[in-house]
Symmetry: C2
Subunit: 542 residues, 2 copies
């Protein structure tokens, strides 16, 4: 009978997993489990998921290794030496010790510990309003050109630095919690929203002198994305955090970070597959043409349009349009003057094109191996018209896509050019109208020369015109990562990401000559990664 | 450190639950677990949930009993004698034997077996298109007045009977699977959609002679609701099934039941509470003013508007507006010419009023104890204007609510009358414009006289004008349940729900004189419950 069959199945599975755990899983002490859980969260969960079912990286559950007959020696070797296509060489780089490599190999052959719950009550309890709105200044308190401030993530020390984009002077360093991930500007530009990989969010008021954190909250235990409401009438009104764990998004008051509503993203793969408990929210963009955020649910391959225009009404109505796209959605940005949104489905080596006006899934474009656009790069080519480009982690290619179906239908949603690059491992690509170049990094290249180099692609030639190693990066074992332009686009800045004991630098380049014109340094400049110019971030210029 | 704390917590909880299970849980054999799981599904899960966290009935997890120091003897006593407010007296009624009562008492002191998964692949595999659309007749093949057919649920034998509402002759009996729950008519009236408590759905073509099942599918393992798309341009185009387990809804092609998309309803309580894995879809209604279904997510206290107008496009876009209302949402229907939707939150003894035009949560109205409206009863009172009424399971009251804020603002969203009834246990209430009476049953009354009686309330007097015991019901240990009017409203029919070995009857009453004018009988008439007139169901007349 029905229930009988299921119950048998459950019993059998239970016994099977028991048996498996008992016979094949290497022994670990409780202390080792704790240490391994922390290391996994820091180094592995982003790509493999806390439940280890895979996303940007493959499934690495004990069952998976058992099916593939891949045991301890194989796993240790991969942890030491990495794999083509993105798996870092943790051992060879000296980031994990021999003991830690052995520990992690044993850890992944044991069942993952169930991640803890984190619910609205926890979020409310974590909320701290440090400076009420009434106590904040009504106009900028400094003579500095705050719209050209650059917020710099000091990733591994859990801080954000605010640098004056005009003078390149440090304005202030703000503690933002462990494992800071990205900054986003509120539409007005006045506030920087910060999100950490530990799910801690904070907001910095740039009108204050010096700028300071005015509110903090912890929406989740693991997060990557935060965004502001940008539609007319909702400027700076709401904020949203996309959580990795628990799999959900949380809507906040944009001026205080008081939590308003929590929505689970637990969902079925493409609306027709397995139920994913770990369905993490990756990239979020805010529309300026409608009161909506576009959220990307990584594991279930769904793009969600979230309309916040009624969320203040009784019952907090929230309108969510769910579109099935591709797996695993990661990062992306606007193309062709925000007419389209393009997001990478990096496990399927595809780019997903969404039309925000009609909320339609327009097309999938073949990228290279594991595309990683950040928000991508936009420019207009004399013949091809408006194009958008991404780099790829797993192949030496910049993929250039035609994004103008009206004006250039033949090129639309095609890879109009696949530019061969000298290295793999590109994390970021950036452009600005004031520069003839498109700049890429190779941050996770397994070639040390690659991870310290930059390349410039000609916007017209669609060829690599110049590549260079950033002097001094190798000496401090730094990787060159992330490009950002200043407000007027005359300069671009790149970070040298060293370990957290080593003061590092930001190199400043002339965006026309490609000459290094300055270098920002200081004891405070530890593990710089992403950089966010207030004006460019508030207005989605990239 | 953060993760360390959580891990400790998890370990502690694990040990605690282990310890609990070892010390307090009465022993059960595998066979006993299987039997108990089946009985629980049939008799208990509807109100308490498969995870036993409670809904219409209270939380009955082992932890709950442990905290309340309620052990085996208490639980046995309740299973035997029931409780006021809805818990049936399974023992006293002789539905569960002494052994079964003891078994179930021990079962609920053991952790619930994890319910099995059921995903899109299972649904696709279960789909059977018995008669393709092209092979179906283009017009009714019988001379009968099919718009006055009455579909009768033969609940415990897993069948549906089609009866001619003009002649009261049996047209046919259709097998619809184990534990048939309700019928709904497609907007055109041509198709009956059937859903079983075992999650099996089927559709019956009334143009065929005799009417027959043309398609079958199993969306879930446990379900209660099914509905058709009723908006202009989408007549009979889509169907939706609201699942209890897994907690989800599934959209189907309305002519073939081919599955299109599955959406999880796992959600946070009122958008600000705990994450509920068992978030079951209760009542569904279809709007005729927009391409939407209104779904009610019981455990999370959310009402979802599901817009199906784009679901055929690439990526199957589905638009879901989530409103936080009250727990635990159960059943409900349209009020005041479909201007408002009213649903019972029966654990909070409230009625939730939703405005479908603005998608707003308009009001909560205090009902009696455990309101259970079915779809409710609508009529117009000379002074109070349009009203809507519900019965209550747990108190002897019919609650009459004013539903015309424009014309009668003083009465709007108030209990304008609380009519005292002779019994508790009302499951259904029904009205029709052609009758001066509102009729109620008392199906789950603990008083045997109540469970075999009907009452008639005067639409103008708002008083109980007549109550009577249905002759012959007690003799066959039947409960009188569910009222349905014929198309012209000149008659109403009620079911005598006996056990499945006992041929029973449907009593037919004159809807003005309240005299019994006929009785439908037959060997085939086993466990009749809900009755659905094609015209009234297709047009939401109640």
């Amino acid at each position: 009978m029905r229930i009988f069959k299921y119950l048998l199945l459950i019993v059998v599975l239970a016994i099977a997993s028991q048996a498996f755990a008992q016979t094949d899983a290497p022994a670990m002490t409780d202390d080792e489990m704790v240490t391994a859980t922390d290391i996994f969260f820091d180094r592995c969960a982003g790509c493999h998921g806390v439940l280890r079912k895979g996303a940007t990286g493959p499934n690495i559950t004990p069952e998976h290794f058992a099916n593939d007959n891949k045991g301890l020696p194989y796993i240790k070797a991969v942890i030491f030496g990495g794999l083509p296509g993105g798996m870092p060489d943790w051992g060879r780089q000296g980031i994990l010790t021999d003991e830690e490599q052995d520990l992690m190999a044993r850890f992944v052959l044991n069942d993952p510990p169930q991640p803890p719950t984190w619910e609205f009550g926890n979020i409310k309890d974590s909320w701290e309003l440090l400076v009420p709105v009434a106590d904040r200044p009504t106009e900028p308190q400094s003579k500095r050109n705050w719209e050209n401030y650059v917020g710099v993530i000091l990733r591994d020390v859990g801080k954000a630095a605010i640098i004056d984009g005009d003078t390149r002077e440090l304005v202030t360093v703000v503690p933002t919690g462990y494992a800071t991930h990205i900054l986003r500007s509120s539409k007005s530009g006045r506030y920087f929203y910060v999100i950490g990989r530990d799910g801690k969010a904070s907001m910095i008021d740039l009108f204050m002198d010096p700028p300071a954190v005015v509110a903090k909250v912890r929406p989740c235990l693991d997060a990557r994305s935060i965004e502001s409401s940008k539609f007319e009438g909702f400027v700076d009104k709401y904020a949203v955090v996309g959580c990795y764990w628990p799999s959900a998004f949380v809507v906040f008051d944009g001026l205080t970070l008081e939590p308003i509503k929590m929505v689970s993203t637990v969902s079925y793969v493409k609306g027709a597959g397995e139920l994913v408990q770990e369905a993490r929210v990756a990239a979020i963009v805010a529309s300026e043409d409608s009161p909506e955020w576009i959220l990307n649910v990584k594991e279930s391959g769904q793009t969600w349009f979230v309309n916040y225009s009624n969320v203040d009404k009784k019952g907090h109505p929230l309108d969510v349009t769910m579109i099935d796209t591709e797996r695993y959605l990661h990062d992306g940005g606007w193309a062709n003057q925000r007419k389209y949104f393009i997001v990478a489905a990096n496990a399927e080596n595809k780019l997903v094109v969404i039309d925000p006006a009609t909320r339609e899934f327009v097309a999938s474009v073949e990228a290279g191996v594991k595309p990683h656009p950040g928000r991508g790069a936009n420019w207009v080519h004399s013949k091809l018209g408006p194009v958008w480009a991404t780099g790829n982690i797993g192949s030496p290619e910049v993929t250039v896509v035609g994004v103008d179906p009206e004006g250039h239908p033949d090129q639309a949603w095609q890879a109009v050019e696949r530019i061969e690059m000298p290295f793999t491992g590109t994390l970021f690509i950036k452009a600005h109208d004031a520069s003839p170049w498109v700049i890429t990094d190779f941050t996770v290249s397994s070639n040390p020369k690659g991870s310290t180099s930059l390349c410039a692609i000609g916007k017209e030639s669609l060829k690599v015109e110049k590549c260079w190693e950033v002097p001094g990066a190798a000496d401090i074992k730094a990787r060159i990562v992330h490009i950002e332009f200043t407000k007027d686009g005359s300069e671009f800045w790149v970070s040298a990401w060293a370990n957290k004991e080593t003061p590092s630098f930001i190199a400043v380049y002339d965006s026309n000559t490609l000459e290094e014109i300055d270098r920002i340094t200081g004891d405070w400049l530890l593990t710089p990664t992403g950089k966010f110019n207030v004006y460019n971030t508030a207005n989605d210029i990239y």
